[in-house]
């Protein structure tokens, strides 16, 4: 029943997409607008199909319908309700199903938003692109990654449930959907970029349509990445929130190019420049989401997040190649039409700073991509095994990160076109003192090391600049000084700065220790005392938990656990964290007390400012929401063409 319903949904979505493409294409070819307008109706068909499929899958999980292979492999009667719902995206096929649903959702919103302009060739081509992406994903689900494969369960069979790591934290229910809302959201600007290239209307019109979509997707991707880091921190128990794992890198890559785009697009809006570059960034961002999915799903790279898979890998790789080929081909063909209207007068200007920002973001993306694929390159060419791990990435990205902080300090106060030294000295006066004060404060608090101190100083400098802009804007506009893209952007900057400072502090001033404690004994780390009060074992249906009771600083009692899963024999610690604004104490059991040795192996990690990472993430999300708010309402359907009229408006 669930299987039939799900398969029907998938076929409906695939069929709807295929029909939509042919109808819109016919409409374009024969100039029949009434055909092109049908795209909206088809988008609803696709959404209906996707919803049916997802509903069928969730229903199967709730009913523990083991006639579905996917449910038999990833469901279990012992999984709690919330994680049972989240089980859908705990493995390959289901996560692609979630992808399909979100894609269909975006498709409907786009078709609805542009319902009055469906006969415009730009919108028509954008819809064709989106429907094509739908064809790929729903086609994939009906072939290599079919979530509705059948299964004949043995009577009394119960599934194993999702991977233990994926079912012990609430964040697992939110991190993947957020990430996918971001990933999939980049399809919209990509579709418009392709449409602009196909129609040759590479002026600024397409860009205005897609700007907010990009910001929307970017906000979700940001939230998804930060939730993922939080999950790693809470679950993996080694004090790490970012391990430069290939799959983490894969989610970071589109974020980097997307962030670069959000900045450079302003240059195009204001000055009509960087058209090819902006189109390339959008195409790159979308391609990188596909590449990221490929890396996660193909098993090419070993990763905690990777799902094993059969033929899905090559198919995704083929799609990635196709996307790149189409983008690169179109950009190459249309190159001559992309003549830009202006040029940059001075490097010391807002546009110059954006350009520098783009170089840094591109460099970051390059380093991350290179580090991720380099071991594969070496293995393929020389047969040697080597690892490129966190030490490499931190060393390479640190100078780039510091450069970004510096740019964040200077760029917001720069005027367009050209700035003078006097202007900079005037505007950077207070921000510079703020930065200096930050370094002084850090030194007084006992911080050492040039890199972290520079990070604090530049962070203070950048925060000073952002606060200056916000202060000026609110003085002039009241509460409206917080909304709109530029002002909201400053709030996002503040969030980034908070994260940057928290990263520098937590990585540089981590202290840790491994202790063997008998009952009643106390360990000391970084000024904190931890007393081992005792332990007990708890029998759970699928595992045995060893629970240790640790009294921290003579106050509260925390209970880290060590789980031994019955079926696999795997031992997975569940750490316990005492979080505060100042520092986090993470406790994780390494060895359980036994009859022969009654002492507890305890790993303790004290890291300052970790909580600020999540606060910074929240500020970034709030800033993104503020940026999405229009500063002043304008009809979104107004035609906006090249640079000249914009200049008139602002003059």
């Amino acid at each position: 029943m669930n299987r039939a319903l799900g398969l029907t949904g998938l076929i409906l979505a695939l069929g709807g997409s295929l029909l939509a493409i042919s109808v819109i294409l016919t409409g374009l070819k024969r100039s029949r607008p009434e055909l092109m307008r049908m795209g909206r109706a088809y988008s609803f068909v696709v959404l209906l199909g996707a919803t049916m499929a997802v509903a069928a899958m969730e229903r199967a999980f709730i009913q523990r319908d083991y006639t579905l292979k996917y449910v038999a492999e990833h469901g279990s009667s012992t999984t709690p309700a919330l994680f049972n719902v989240a089980s859908m995206w705990s493995a390959l096929e289901g996560s692609i199903l979630l992808w399909g649903l979100i894609l269909a959702g975006y498709l409907v919103v786009v078709a609805h938003k542009f319902r009055k302009r469906l006969d415009d060739s730009l919108v028509a081509w954008a819809l064709i692109t989106m429907f094509s992406v739908c064809v790929f994903f729903f086609g994939l689900m009906l072939t290599a990654a079919n979530p509705f494969r059948g299964n004949i369960p043995i009577p009394g069979f119960d599934g194993p449930g999702p991977n233990p790591l994926l079912q012990n934290h609430i964040l697992m229910a939110f991190h993947p959907p957020m990430l996918y809302l971001g990933y999939v959201g980049f399809t919209v600007p990509f579709a418009f970029a392709i449409a602009a290239l196909v129609t040759g209307r590479v002026g600024e019109g397409w860009l205005v349509e897609t700007r907010r979509w990009t910001l929307f997707a970017w906000g979700f991707l940001t939230a998804g990445i930060i939730l993922g880091a939080w999950w790693s921190y809470e679950v993996l128990g080694w004090g790490g929130y970012w391990g430069w794992d290939p799959v983490e890198n894969a989610s970071l890559l589109p974020w980097l190019t997307g962030t670069a785009y959000l900045h450079s697009v302003m240059v195009q809006e204001r000055r009509g420049m960087l058209r090819v570059w902006n189109l390339s960034l959008l195409c790159a961002t979308f391609s990188l989401t596909i590449l990221g999915t490929f890396l996660t799903r193909s098993g090419v790279v070993a990763s905690v997040h990777a799902f094993s898979a059969g033929s899905v890998g090559p198919i995704l790789l083929g799609f990635f190649a196709l996307v790149v080929a189409v983008s690169v081909g179109l950009i190459g063909l249309r190159g001559d039409q992309l003549r830009s209207a202006g040029h940059i007068d001075s490097p010391l200007s807002r546009e110059g700073a954006f350009l520098a920002n783009n170089v840094v973001f591109a460099a970051l993306a390059f380093v991350v991509l290179l580090g991720t694929v380099f071991p594969l390159v070496i293995e393929a060419t020389t047969g040697d095994t080597l690892s490129v791990g966190p030490p490499y990435f931190s060393r390479m990205t640190m100078p780039l990160g510091l450069t970004l902080l510096l740019l964040m300090a200077i760029a917001p106060v720069l005027p367009w076109r050209k700035a003078s030294g006097e202007l900079l000295r005037e505007r950077l006066w207070w921000p510079a003192w703020t930065g200096l004060a930050a370094v002084l404060l850090a030194v007084l608090l006992g911080a050492t090391g040039v890199a972290p101190l520079l990070a604090f100083g530049l962070g203070g400098f950048a925060a000073g600049s952002a606060l200056r802009q916000i202060a000026l804007a609110t003085k002039r506009l009241g509460w409206r000084g917080f909304v709109g893209r530029a002002n909201g952007g400053m709030v996002v900057h503040l969030g980034v700065i908070v994260i940057g400072v928290a990263l520098a502090a937590s990585m540089s001033f981590m202290s840790q220790g491994e202790f063997t404690l008998k009952e009643g004994e106390t360990a000391r780390v970084a000024g904190h005392t931890l007393q081992f009060l005792g332990s007990r074992t708890v029998d759970q249906p699928n595992r045995v938990e060893l629970v240790a009771r640790i009294k921290v600083d003579g106050e509260q009692v925390y209970e880290p656990k060590l789980n031994r899963y019955r079926q696999s024999g795997q031992t997975i610690p569940t750490p316990s964290v005492k979080a505060s604004l100042r520092d986090d104490i993470m406790m994780s059991i390494t060895t359980a007390p036994s009859e022969s040795d009654p002492s507890l192996g305890l790993r303790v990690i004290v890291q300052p400012m970790v909580t600020w990472l999540w606060i910074g993430g929240l500020i970034m999300v709030i800033g993104t929401v503020l940026s999405l708010f229009p500063g002043r309402r304008r009809n979104p359907l107004d035609a906006v063409s090249a640079a000249a009229p914009i200049e008139q408006v602002s003059a």
Binding site: M273, V276, S308, I331, G332, L333, R334, L355
Partner: protein, 182 residues
């Protein structure tokens, strides 16, 4: 930043295209996660020192086994695949007469009491080392359990097996090597 020099666009697009194509080819030829090949810097080299007192209290030294094939097996009683492998080791050990192969087990991160009970319950009467084995495991470059190293009569490591071995496969391996060598 080819925006202002349009004639550069096709060239840059071409370069990017080729680079991406290379990347795609690379991914296609890369081995998938599951099929990693077993390598060890030890292969072809003299086996690292292995000596100590066995579970039954007799001294053991790998060097004294020169002239014989030896299978050094790393295991632990808490490791399910090792438990599954055990019958194969018994089978292998029983057939030593025909192949002249000795088995020696090295318990990793396990107590003597556990290992003793394990052998009492499951059988097996070859030398087992349990004390100070952590450093030995590092010398042999042990990654996971079970893991076995085949050492030829000259004391050279000739093969490494990750995961459970089967008696048949190992005997065939030894037989082939002896036939090829003589």
């Amino acid at each position: 930043m080819s925006a202002d020099t349009p004639r550069r666009a096709p060239v840059i697009a071409g370069i990017v295209g080729v680079a991406v194509l290379a990347l795609v080819v690379l991914f296609l030829v890369s081995p998938k996660g599951g099929e990693t090949k077993v390598t060890s810097p030890l292969l072809g080299n003299l086996a690292p020192e292995l000596a100590g007192t066995t579970l039954t209290g007799e001294p053991f030294n790998l060097d004294s086994a020169r002239g014989q094939w030896v299978l050094v097996n790393f295991f632990a009683t808490w490791c399910p695949p090792c438990v599954a492998e055990h019958p194969e080791l018994i089978k292998l050990n029983e057939s030593t007469a025909s192949t002249g192969l000795r088995v020696v087990s090295v318990a990793f991160d396990d107590s003597s009491a556990n290992v003793e009970k394990f052998f009492a319950d499951n059988g097996g009467d070859w030398p087992v080392l349990t004390q100070g084995t952590g450093a030995v495991a590092l010398d042999y470059g042990v990654k996971g359990l079970p893991e076995s190293f085949l050492i030829d009569p000259a004391g050279t490591v000739v093969a490494k097996f990750e995961g459970g071995i089967t008696a048949d496969a190992l005997q065939r391996y030894v037989a082939d090597s002896t036939a090829g060598g003589s």
